[in-house]
């Protein structure tokens, strides 16, 4: 199979359209199961009581906030290096979802911090670097809106995204590098998990749901971006939803 065939908007548009419902359904089912496990099945935490249940939103969105940025940086590097149209569009499409994930991670972190640490916010390394991530997403979106010429906007946003990627390891390792109010990693590849298996299961299912949600929503958005950018192209005129009659 020639994968490059799908790297043109004309072929990716209908392919994405076919895949979106499947990713969306998978996300909805996983979220329903994850919420059931997280809110009902998982036991009460011995130290934090029921407050810990915020973890089922907080950790998956925090992971996605960083992961989406890395994927954006990957597409940005491709767009800069090879001048590929679709990669710049994918980078553009991911930014709002990344910003939303970051916002939700910060918000739920604040509402978890208050009952467990006694404060909604602290200028701690983990929280500050995550807040910088939110501003990076806002900055990338604002930069795109500020530049009229699409190709120049692509390049400028790609450069900003790639510069900002240094923030990701800072967020990730902040709890090791600095004395932090934020706790260390809950899940690690090298150590046994520090939580009950049902808690871990609920978190893993919610993380998968967040993945599928991100794929579905970014594919849906990139379809709009494709039309916005190439509305004069023949393939747009030939789309069944665009043709007259």
């Amino acid at each position: 199979m020639n994968l490059f065939k799908y790297s043109s908007p004309a072929t990716f548009y209908p392919l994405a359209g076919k895949m979106i419902p499947w990713f969306a359904i998978a996300a909805a089912i996983l979220a329903a199961i994850g919420l059931y496990v997280g809110l009902i099945v998982a036991p009460t935490d011995a130290q934090q009581g029921e407050a810990y249940r915020i973890i089922f939103i907080h950790v998956p969105t925090a992971w996605m906030s960083m992961f989406i940025y890395v994927v954006m940086a990957f597409w940005s590097a491709l767009a800069l290096g090879f001048n590929t149209r679709l990669s710049a569009m994918m980078a553009q499409s991911l930014a709002p979802t990344g910003a939303i994930m970051t916002f939700v991670a910060l918000w739920t972190g604040a509402f978890w911090g208050r009952p467990t640490w006694g404060t909604y916010w602290a200028w701690d390394a983990r929280m500050t670097s995550e807040l910088i991530l939110l501003f990076l997403y806002f900055g990338i979106i604002a930069l795109r809106n500020a530049i009229e010429d699409t190709r120049r906007a692509d390049r400028a946003c790609a450069v900003l995204t790639l510069v900002g990627v240094v923030n990701i390891p800072i967020i990730y390792f902040s709890v090791h590098w600095w004395n932090s109010l934020h706790q260390g990693a809950t899940v690690s590849l090298t150590r046994a998990p520090k939580m009950a298996s049902m808690m871990l299961t609920g978190m893993a299912i919610m993380a998968l749901a967040a993945w599928f949600y991100t794929i579905a929503v970014s594919f849906a958005r990139v379809r709009s971006i494709m039309i916005e950018r190439e509305r004069d192209a023949g393939w747009v005129a030939a789309l069944p939803e665009v043709r007259h009659g």
Binding site: S8, A10, T11, P14, L39, I40, T44, G49, E50, A51, R53, I54, I57, H58, T61, P96, T97, I100, F103, V104, W107, T108, F111, W112, R114, P115, Y213, V217, A220, R221, R223, S224, I227, E228, R231, D232, A233, G234, W235, V236, A237, A238, L239, P240, E241, V242, R243, H244, G245
Partner: protein, 60 residues
């Protein structure tokens, strides 16, 4: 049931977290849908009246 919503006294924090997350997801889905409808409609209006592009799809 009310015991479930009380969340052992942490209901305020738990439901403000879950609520805002739910609103964010719903708002994003609605925004993406609206954008999709708008862009398709704009592309439709760009097509010359009475002109029907061949339904080849995928060919530039």
């Amino acid at each position: 049931m009310s015991e479930f919503f009380a969340m052992g006294g942490y209901g305020f924090y738990v439901w403000w977290s879950y609520g805002v997350a739910a609103v964010a997801v719903i708002a994003e889905i609605l925004a993406v849908r609206a954008r999709s409808r708008r862009t398709v409609e704009e592309a439709r209006l760009l097509q010359p009246e009475g002109f029907t592009a061949p339904a080849t799809g995928g060919v530039r």
